[in-house]
């Protein structure tokens, strides 16, 4: 029948994504082969680039931090039944909020004051950017997919305007702000490790990773262990039942989108305060869109999101290594591999479900 096949939980959450990933890598290998390189060598380069050195691991987790923030953002909206395509724009504007605080307070307040204010400002700006699409969806029924996509473009234009005309460092060509003051820079992982006597190769990995982990834990508690999370999931699963239960779907939709935007806004901590130390053009770099794939592959669960964020971080880092070491493979090829992973883990996730379900049924019947 056409009903979705039921799989055991471990297969649903573990085996199926692994099979999908393997299929994506297999197809990628074929492309590599066609390009005239050895797939196995390419795969080894990719893996060792991502996980082979401390520096590689640092970069992988640094990229993953961005994807955790945006992945969580997508997931929270998803639990309210909303497809938030706008994490890219929300991260962009959210980063502006953190960046402005960093510019303002970075050289006049201590770090422990700057950090919380920057976090709150990033969350508030990201949430604000989600508010209008949320309000339009909740009160006017304008589809959130459309409005959030459009808000990505508005965010991009707004940021370009601000960076070119307002925030640009005087006497400079490239549209970037001046550097943040030292109190607005998140400590890098290797610096933190050095303090407790562990040497770790320098990389952009920074305190924002820990903040992302904390955010994941908070999202889990909020969604699965609080009455608000319960209401959120009821609205996402069955809005009629929500109304019946006295839960206001429009209120939950707005709240969920605010939280979604706030989480996406966390990206600025990692990218700006943690690594670039200034506001610059297009700093989210597509992480908002990768976040959709991360949430999808991670089944909108914080643990799944962590795992898939690390995977996509590894693809980004290992891919850069691959492009560097294999002349026939350029960065675009890495994007192709990412695309294949998204295709198999997201769009085609049901391709292997049916045969797998048959297999389990056959086993069950014996």
């Amino acid at each position: 029948m056409s009903a979705p096949q039921k799989l055991p939980r471990w297969a649903e959450l573990g085996l199926l994504p692994l099979i999908n990933l393997a299929a994506a890598l297999l197809l990628s290998g074929l492309v590599v082969k066609i390009l005239g390189e050895s797939p196995w060598a390419a795969f080894k380069l990719l893996a060792s680039g991502a996980f082979g050195t401390q520096e590689g691991i640092g970069y992988t987790l640094y990229y993953a931090t961005n994807f955790i923030f945006t992945g969580l953002g997508v997931a929270v909206a998803y639990h309210a039944g909303l497809f938030n395509i706008g994490c890219e724009g929300q991260a962009y504007i959210g980063g502006l909020g953190s960046g402005l605080i960093a510019l303002w307070l970075g050289d006049r307040a201590p770090f422990f004051v700057v950090l919380p204010i920057a976090i709150v400002a990033g969350a508030a700006f990201g949430a604000a950017w989600a508010l209008i699409p949320a309000w339009l969806q909740a009160r006017r029924g304008s589809h959130i997919v459309i409005t959030t996509i459009m808000f990505n473009f508005i965010a991009a234009s707004l940021m370009t305007y601000l960076l070119v005309n307002v925030l640009i460092k005087p006497g400079q060509q490239s549209p970037e702000s001046r550097e943040f003051g030292p109190q607005a820079m998140l400590p890098a992982a290797h610096e933190l490790f050095a303090k407790i006597g562990i040497t770790f190769s320098p990389s952009p990995l920074n305190l924002a990773f820990a903040i992302a982990l904390l955010a994941s834990a908070l999202v889990w508690v909020l969604v699965w262990r609080t009455r608000w999370g319960y209401a959120l999931r009821v609205v996402g699963q069955n809005p009629s039942a929500a109304v019946y239960a006295g839960i206001s779907p429009s209120r939950i939709i707005i709240q969920a989108m605010l939280l979604s935007g706030a989480l996406a806004g966390g990206l600025g901590l990692n990218e700006l305060l943690g690594s670039q130390h200034r506001i610059l053009i297009d700093f989210p770099g597509g992480a908002g869109f990768v976040g959709i794939a991360v949430a999808l592959m991670g089944r909108n669960h914080p643990i799944g999101i962590l795992v898939s964020a690390v995977l996509f971080g590894a693809l980004a880092q290992g891919g850069a290594q691959l492009a560097f070491d294999m002349p026939k493979i350029n960065r675009d090829m890495v994007v192709v591999i990412q695309g294949l992973v998204i295709l198999f883990c997201g769009a085609l996730e049901n391709v292997f479900r049916a045969p797998l379900a048959l297999l389990f049924r056959a086993k069950g019947e014996k």
């Binding site: 029948m1 699963q237 069955n238 109304v243 239960a245 019947e365």
Partner: protein
């Protein structure tokens, strides 16, 4: 042929080859033995009932016949010929048609387009549509199956949509028609029209298999009836030689109480007062007009009416899901309308609600039983000692409800959709009465619920009444209203057109009121309730 005599055994016709014969069909789903060597035969030109509780294996068996499932072993024979059916296409080719409980129609296509869907007969539509039109007009004539061919399906009432499904099957050449719970979505009038249609089909030599759990339908229309229980056939008899009680006992496997046992009501103080209530739908059409009534402690009030005459809207307005445009609802000295209290606030005042459509509103299908057991009460202090939900308390509460209401299996972590309709309903009911409400609104208390559970639910409702609660029951099953209610309100076109004490009520009196013929006020013509409610009143 003896078809027209409508005797239960047309097999006296010379070649007594069954139209459809199943031989030793066996099917397992994992550890569930859904069909245990089931054999039965449907005579040509007969209506054969297949009856059993939810989960007895009826649907599985019919899905095997229609090619949705494959039997592990056994044989299907059509007109004495063994056939291999692995897909619905092969079933159709063998002359088998099926009308599902949930229609498989493209809502924004016309009737004609729906019927030719998949058998267009060529790349261009025009020729096929023209041929189909002629053929459908012939079918409509032959079987009294009138449907406006150019109407868009979504605008047709449910009864006509079902007719489209039947036409679809006939257009594909079905000689054997399987109907799965066909009356579940129909008003009594629509059901009667369906039965007339089925008799006509039988008289024209078609065979009909009617899958249902409603005894009344079996008795009313079938020639023979097969009873299934736990995957096996437990009886096959000529309908004329059996009784509802006997069938019910065979279905459930023990003696059942078809009539509700209750003493005379002792109504007390008024708990809920409704005055001049007007409700409009989203399009501004008046659905409830100037309704006033009281609910008193210790009585069950039944709200009867043809489906679509405002009962659902009234119930939702009382529960706080819709906001009335006028009127007042008074509960515990609060005017629920003026204070704009939402369902949660109304629950806090002791107003519980079991919704009419359980799956659409009463439960969240993907949630576990325990999570469903707190829906609407999820923010109560019992489950929220601090900022976080107390999962242990939620589980314990669910276990308690399951034990008290005999919900099976008693597994709080199991997804609610894995429970049978009856057990889902028992859990919903448990959720709503566990908080000890003053007033209970109950829509379709036993819709999609098997007989064993119906008996249990009815007993519970009477017990609640005897405990001094006020109950309002909305049901499309007139039998249920007559069985449970102490006082009966009848709705027609959004108004309450009559009120009867149970002792004065007869099916006929209520039926006349339901049709809008009030003995006091004379005939009141149906108002602008639109095509949907106007058409089925044939």
């Amino acid at each position: 042929m003896d078809k027209h005599l409508s005797t239960p055994t047309p097999s006296s016709a010379s070649p007594s080859v069954p139209a459809l014969e199943l031989r030793a069909i066996d099917k397992r789903f994992g550890s569930v033995h859904a069909n245990r060597t089931v054999s039965f035969a449907v005579a040509p030109g007969s209506i054969h009932g297949l009856i059993g509780e939810n989960g007895a294996g009826k649907s599985t068996l019919m899905n095997i016949v229609y090619g949705f499932h494959r039997a592990d072993s056994g044989e299907i024979r059509v007109n004495g010929r063994s056939v291999e059916i692995t897909s619905p296409q092969e079933a159709i080719a063998a002359g088998i048609g099926m009308v599902h409980q949930h229609f498989m129609l493209v809502e924004n296509f016309t009737v004609l387009e729906n019927v030719v869907l998949g058998v267009e007969g060529g790349a261009l539509l025009a020729g096929g549509l023209a041929r189909a039109r002629t053929e459908l007009e012939r079918l409509a004539r032959d079987y009294a199956l009138d449907v406006p061919l150019d109407a868009v399906v979504s605008e047709l009432p449910v009864g006509l949509q079902q007719r489209v499904e039947i036409l679809k099957a006939l257009y594909r050449g079905a000689q054997i028609l399987i109907l799965d719970e066909p009356t579940a979505v129909l008003t009594p009038q629509e059901a009667d029209a369906l039965f007339r249609m089925l008799r006509r089909l039988r008289d024209e030599g078609k065979s009909v298999v009617l899958v249902t759990h409603k005894l009344r339908e079996i008795m009313a229309i079938t020639d023979r009836v097969t009873v299934m229980r736990q995957g096996a056939i437990v009886a096959e008899v000529a309908t004329a030689t059996t009784s509802p009680r006997e069938l019910a006992e065979k279905m459930v496997g023990r003696a059942v109480l078809l009539r509700v046992d209750k003493s005379l009501a002792q109504p007390g103080a008024t708990l809920l007062a409704v005055r001049d209530l007007d409700v409009r739908d989203r399009l501004g059409v008046a659905r409830v007009k100037g309704v006033s009534f009281d609910l008193r402690a210790g009585e069950i009030v039944g709200l009867a009416g043809v489906s679509g005459n405002g009962q659902s809207e009234l119930l939702e307005a009382l529960a706080g899901i819709r906001f009335p445009t006028r009127g007042s609802i008074t509960l515990q000295n609060h005017d629920l309308i003026r204070e704009r209290l939402d369902p949660r606030q109304r629950r806090a005042l002791g107003l519980a609600h079991v919704p009419e459509d359980r799956l659409r509103m009463g439960v969240v299908a993907n949630f576990s039983a325990e999570d469903n057991a707190i829906l609407g009460y999820h923010d109560r202090a019992t489950y929220n000692p601090g900022a976080l939900l107390d999962r242990a308390a939620i589980r314990a509460a669910c276990e308690g409800k399951m034990a008290a209401h005999d919900v099976r299996p008693p597994m709080p972590s199991l997804r609610i959709s894995a429970f049978s309709g009856g057990n889902q309903q028992k859990l919903v009911l448990a959720r709503e009465i566990d908080v000890d409400p003053r007033v209970l609104l109950i829509g379709q208390p036993t819709r999609g619920v098997d007989i064993g559970a119906i008996e249990f639910i009815h007993k519970k409702l009477v017990a609640l009444r005897d405990a001094g609660k006020a109950l309002l029951i909305v049901s499309v099953e007139l039998d249920e209203i007559l069985g449970l209610a102490d006082r009966i309100l009848v709705m027609n076109a959004g108004e309450i057109v009559g009120e009867l004490l149970r002792a004065d009520a007869t099916e006929e009196k209520i039926g006349l009121m339901m049709a809008g013929i009030d003995s006091r006020a004379g005939f009141s013509p149906p108002t602008e309730s639109g095509l949907k409610s106007a058409l089925p009143q044939t």
